[in-house]
């Protein structure tokens, strides 16, 4: 097992290093720089622009910049964010927990709803209810994240006023609330963005879960349970469900990259101040250090998440370890 863990860890580190290097090269080769974004402002002189470029070392050869960047990374220094006027570490310290809250909530609710839906669908295979719910799941899966987000924003928030339109807290009231009300305020703001992501996860998980249940339901132990007179509800929700959950950890691991890219759209549309929105703004302002830190954080999240899913799967099924 230790060998497996080491191998999986080394694989994750290699993936992160390759992604980071590619991102560094691509970001610096892309047109523009952090100080040339505003062509409409007469006070933006070429002299000042050149002084900024020189001060931050962007006029040095790319290889020199790369070596410096890697050296700083080794000391966990991500550099200075030009678009935000602060250290990137401080920006990450604020944005990562917010994204974790959003994605964590979405995973919990999405997986739970997806498992429940898939489990409910399987014994009803071929029925009208199963066909309709299955079609709805496929329609949801086919829709881009931003479309789901815009629909969620337009109807429950903007039209019905059930939820706040955007943001993470009520900007005018939050500080005057007691602790419980503050938590409620955050949950209220979390509902739509997390709900949007959860919906997409649920649609995906339900398809996997339905297949897993269909594979388990014909098994002999289910027939034995029926022969012993167990209620159909217990057979499905206790016996079959428990035995169908094995691949779930792997599925969650596979969902992480999709979840991360979905968070970029959802955070932007709902103004959720997490790492996804940070990335969009950093790319728009060609903020090299912030873009690279975001890419790095994303690749670490996805690589570690996938590795963790593999490890959990290996715990659950020793054949995975042997294959690895």
């Amino acid at each position: 097992m230790r060998r497996f863990l080491l191998a999986r860890g080394a694989q994750a580190v290699t993936v992160i290093a390759i992604v980071a290097t590619l991102a560094f090269v691509l970001v610096h080769l892309a047109p523009g720089d952090p100080f040339a974004s505003n062509l409409d402002d007469p006070s933006n002189s070429a002299e000042l622009h050149a002084a900024q470029i020189h001060h931050w070392g962007y006029d040095q050869p790319l290889a020199v910049q790369y070596v410096k960047w890697v050296g700083n990374l080794a000391r966990l220094q991500f550099g200075w964010s030009h678009s935000r006027g602060r250290w990137v570490t401080d920006v990450l310290r604020e944005t990562i927990p917010r994204s974790m809250l959003l994605m964590g909530t979405a995973i919990v609710f999405g997986v739970f709803a997806g498992v429940a839906l898939g489990t409910w669908q399987a014994p009803r295979r071929g029925s009208m209810a199963e066909k309709i719910s299955g079609s709805l799941a496929i329609v949801t899966l086919s829709m881009p994240e931003f479309l789901v987000a815009i629909a969620a924003l337009a109807i429950p928030a903007a039209r019905w006023h059930w939820f706040p339109v955007s943001g993470i807290v009520n900007p005018a009231m939050h500080d005057s609330m007691n602790a419980a009300a503050r938590a409620g305020d955050i949950l209220l703001h979390l509902a739509l963005p997390a709900g949007t992501l959860a919906l997409l996860i649920a649609a995906s998980v339900s398809r996997y879960q339905r297949m897993a249940m269909l594979a388990v339901l014909p098994d002999e132990f289910i027939r034995t349970a029926r022969a012993k007179g167990a209620a159909e509800h217990d057979i499905v929700w206790r016996h079959a469900l428990r035995n169908s959950l094995g691949p779930l950890t792997t599925i969650i691991g596979l969902l992480l990259p999709t979840l991360f890219s979905g968070a970029v759209f959802v955070e932007t549309i709902f103004s959720w101040p997490g790492i996804g929105r940070m990335m969009v703004e950093a790319v728009g302002t060609v903020d090299y250090p912030l873009v690279l830190a975001g890419v790095l954080a994303g690749s670490v999240f996805v690589a570690l998440g996938s590795a963790l899913a593999d490890v959990l799967a290996a715990f659950a099924d020793p054949r995975v370890r042997i294959d690895a």
């Binding site: 974004s37 002299e47 001060h55 928030a157 900007p171 009231m173 009300a181 409620g184 103004s271």
Partner: protein
Amino acid sequence: MRISLLMRGALVQLLERLLVPLVLLVPLASVSFLAGCGGNERSSGGGTIVIGSGQDPRTLFPPLADLTQAREITELLFEKLAERGPSLNTLGDSGFVPRLAQRWDWSPDSLRVTFHLDPRARWQDGHAVRASDVKFAFSVYTDTLTRSRMRRDLIAAVDSITVGDSATCTAWFHQRSPERFHELVFSLTPLPEHLLRGILRDSSAMLAFAKSPAGNGPFKIVKWEQQVRLEVARSETFSGTPARFDRVIWTFAPDASTLFKQFMAGESDFLENLTVEDAAAAARQPDRRVIALPDYGYNFLQFNLRDGASARPHALFGDRALRRALTMALDRQLLARSVFDTLGRVGLGPFVRAQWSADTTLRQIPFDRAAAATLLDSLGWRAGKDGMRSRNGKPLAFSLLVPTSSKARQTLAVLIQEQLRLAGVSVAVERLEGPAIGKRVTTGAFDAQMGGITASPSPSGVKQTWTSAASKDGLNFGHYENGAFDAQVDSATSANSKPNAKAHYRSAYQIIVDDAPVIWLYEPPTRAGANARLQLNAAHPDAWWLGLREWSITPGKRLPRDAVPAQKP
């Protein structure tokens, strides 16, 4: 196998155990939220205004606060020596309103001005504002290490600042340039020397100051969570008329449609930069108002007069007559109306109508497709069977760069493409992100671009945008160079009287309009949305936020957030 079963069991138990708390959490939290709203203290009755904004200010350190978002907050935290008055005059000191300086005296030779500071003025930590703070600020702004964008204008106008006594300082000018007073008071914000002197080279301490500065204005900073909100509260140490609001809160969202939904849902009270469609939607609501703000931007189709980065003339646009023919082929009135409906106003030249130098009587190149065709024929650009023109086998075609960030410019580019096609000119529209356009434009790798300029009340900004000097270090990316134009601009910016300056500006504008280095397209209409509960008692003509200290909430239209008192910083 045993581990596998245990894992499965554990997962099921986890799901079962999470279900009940998660399902109960949302309603429970909502109940506690409703029960827990409302502060323990009472506000002083001024209320709270929430402003929707698309961007964080990045810094609140005045020398670096060059973006509009930063200016609108720092100018509430820090007072300048004087402000431009409602006339927006920038010549001499006529119409300027005293702020930190109660009054000022000119020397007989007009080469120095002495400011008498308000002796009651205090920084928010209680220290008196002293004349040495003005001198210190000048040294910070002009220090190359500060990298302030205001440095260039400031050092061009002001030689030095000296201190008379604690409440008197004198600015010494290089020469009697007509806008020297404006350049000084507009560019320079006094800074607290006692707080900054020892930390200027300490990046951590400066960062802390830039995030939460102690100013001397009508508001003080309370809290700034980047990407989320920024809150300021009425300052008790402010020596002028106190602001009416208890709190002003900016809430940040990058997406314009989200900001508008926030505004329409009542989550924000004020929203800048409404689109034409959003302005129309807001105007239909009885409890929303649409306010016209002065338009300080002008947009254009800019030709590159050089062949790439070389000094050679561009194969097409080096020809003045061809540029004039292309201008004639465009119905600019129709273009502006197509995008901005009745709010669309055609650009007239390198100025905006809100500037005092504006001249709406300039002789424009008229829309005349037949005359354009005749002129193109005379230049040898003949129409083929397909109606498209060519000369010596070379088609009359060029590419047009358009930023994806501007919906208006993208729409216009397509309309221009169609109108020029009718004249036999082929235009390939290239849509690019802002940084990519920046790279292409600054390196000369373009034929034409849809550009824009954000002007200031001072017309002298034309020096940095259209003169030959701006071709080397400025925004004259099309490399338009005309000595006669430069001479008129020089005369205008050094003229001592307004009529004289205006006459030179008019001559300069006429020269550049006749030369057609760009096609002046439109002045984008600037509209803001305000909740009807706001009483907008004062509207500053060029910076709405300067009137904010006099705005208030209509009695009887207060919301729960108006009862929340300001928190301690």
